[in-house]
């Protein structure tokens, strides 16, 4: 692994990799098992560094990151997309399998800075609309404003207590809405 790729992996885990470098790196990750292992290790290191008091928040994190990257190859479209309303058990289906069941051709991996120091490092597998990988960088002011508009509209339909919480959250979100992400659920 070259220094350049190592730096790219670090930047990816810090949420600082430029979007134009993202596609190439993700394709490389797709092809290269050794790189995937390194990615998992880096993610674990990052998680350890960011966890409160240096505690490892989730020891299986790296394995799950690697598993998630492997996931598209394992089971693309193995199950047809559910057409009818699902049952509770389907509702409970883990996200990774849901994405695969929906016939998604590929998956994008998002890794962001933790939104709070006390949160574990997190990653997510989400269905991508095209074969290209995508990466979410910092939200633009327009994106934040749209979400803020949603929040204000949404607050109108909450109980008084929850409405107060929602509006308070809107006031406290400074400088903007924080990009969050999800921990991968084991398939």
């Amino acid at each position: 692994m070259t220094d350049q790729i190592r730096e790219q992996l670090s930047a990816l885990l810090d949420g600082e990799l430029p979007r134009d470098e993202m596609g190439l790196l993700m394709r490389r990750l797709d092809r290269d098992p050794e790189l995937r292992r390194s990615f998992g290790t880096y993610a674990l290191i990052g998680e350890t560094l960011r966890a409160p008091g240096g505690r490892i928040a989730s020891q299986s994190f790296a394995a799950r990151v690697s598993a998630a990257i492997d996931a598209p190859q394992r089971g693309v479209a193995a199950t047809p997309a559910p057409a009818a309303p699902a049952t509770v058990s389907v509702w409970r289906r883990p996200a990774v399998r849901t994405a695969l069941a929906a016939g998604v051709a590929t998956a994008a991996v998002f890794v962001f800075r933790p939104w709070q120091d006390t949160q574990p490092q997190v990653a997510s597998v989400q269905p991508a609309p095209t074969s290209a990988y995508s990466f979410a960088s910092s939200p633009t002011p327009a994106q934040n404003q749209r979400l803020a508009s949603y929040m204000v509209a949404h607050s109108q339909y909450s109980t008084p207590m929850v409405r107060r919480n929602v509006l308070t959250s809107l006031l406290a979100s400074d400088p903007g809405i924080t990009r969050a992400s999800y921990e991968i659920e084991a398939p």
């Binding site: 309303p85 049952t87 849901t98 939200p139 994106q143 204000v152 008084p160 406290a172 400074d174």
Partner: protein, 344 residues
């Protein structure tokens, strides 16, 4: 300080009531009283809003005049943002962006009209309990615990003033029981009368951009969803309580806004036609305080689910949006097959 994960557990140990059913009924009655007090009393309070690693002081002033409520919520440090509920509209002043977001009020006409209230089925999805607490702000306190029975919703612990049912402290816990948000009042005055000036914004909005939701469309009655797109799965207990069309700022086409509620938590689903124009770029997750949002793209529509529920809940709902399957017979507008399909 109590460890974050411990607060629900501690509540379980301390509560252990003689009759769980009795305290559940008692808790439900307190929740109803609290909702009524928050909406109908005159009050002026200072509180600290805290999330892990962050705390901010705020002031809330709530005024009731001739059956109408007015409110000002202002950040006293940090962003300087304010949310003001006027007679007909809600104005969110965001000085850091020089923007005012404007949304028509939906509770026009009646103070408590159509507000979601804790219904009789609440205890299917939450464990409710009540007990005496230690004094706060010199007031006798009753503590209400609202613990979720599954991972689709948050839990709440509320410290209510026994005399007025006003919450003087509230904590939101996530699906793992960890504290994610707290509101703690440092001063709370219940007043006979509050002047109109006290609910006026202090921020100088000169030169700000006023971003309005289209009022005419927002007032329209229920209309079919865009292309019949609907969430096909919602968690047990969440029911469709409202549906409306509105033009979101920056978008030329009306968005469908569907609101689901379990009696405590509400989830909004926005379905906008066309590619995102300045909105979230799907698929994407966001968080504001304890509220989560998830956006995705479905059949050329931008779909965003948002609510004060765990991140996984809004993600699952947004990902389940699809054209509604044809029904054998016309169902009532408020009946949502997917919503009721998951309700035991």
């Amino acid at each position: 300080m109590m460890r974050p994960a411990a607060w629900f557990v501690a509540g379980l140990l301390i509560a252990a009531p003689a009759s769980a059913q009795e305290t559940a009924q008692d808790a439900r009655a307190w929740l109803e009283r609290m909702s009524e007090a928050l909406a109908t009393r005159n009050y002026d309070g200072l509180f600290t809003h805290s999330t892990p690693g962050q705390a901010e002081s705020m002031r809330i002033v709530h005024r009731v005049e001739k059956g109408r409520s007015y409110e000002r919520l202002v950040s006293l440090d940090g962003s300087g943002r304010e949310v003001v509920r006027t007679r007909d509209e809600v104005h969110a002043y965001l000085p850091d962006r020089k923007v005012v977001l404007v949304e028509p009020r939906r509770d026009e006409g009646s103070l408590l009209k159509a507000l979601p209230t804790p219904g009789p089925t609440l205890d299917r999805y939450y464990d409710l309990s009540s007990r005496q607490g230690k004094k706060l702000l010199g007031r006798d306190i009753v503590i209400i615990d609202v613990r979720p029975k599954d991972r689709y919703r948050y839990g709440y612990r509320l410290w209510l003033d026994e005399a007025t049912a006003m919450p003087v402290r509230s904590v939101v816990g996530d699906e793992g029981g960890r504290q994610i948000e707290q509101i703690l009042f440092t001063r709370l005055e219940m007043k006979e009368k509050i002047s109109a000036k006290d609910v006026e914004p202090a921020v100088d909005a000169n030169g700000f951009q006023w971003v309005r939701t289209d009022r005419k469309l927002a007032a329209m009655p229920q209309l079919p969803a865009n292309n019949g797109l609907r969430p096909l799965r919602v968690p047990p207990g969440f029911r469709l309580v409202a549906s409306r069309l509105q033009v979101m700022p920056g978008s030329p086409m009306p968005a469908q806004h569907l609101i689901f509620s379990d009696g405590i938590a509400a989830i909004s689903v926005f379905i906008e036609p066309g590619p995102p124009t300045g909105g979230p770029r799907p698929p994407e997750a966001s968080r504001m305080g304890s509220a989560n949002a998830y956006s995705t793209s479905v059949h050329g529509h931008l779909v965003t689910a948002i609510g004060e529920v765990p991140a996984g809940t809004v993600r699952e709902i947004a990902n389940s949006v699809a054209p509604m399957p044809p029904l054998p017979s016309q169902a009532p507008a408020s009946a949502m097959p997917a919503a009721s399909a998951n309700t035991p």
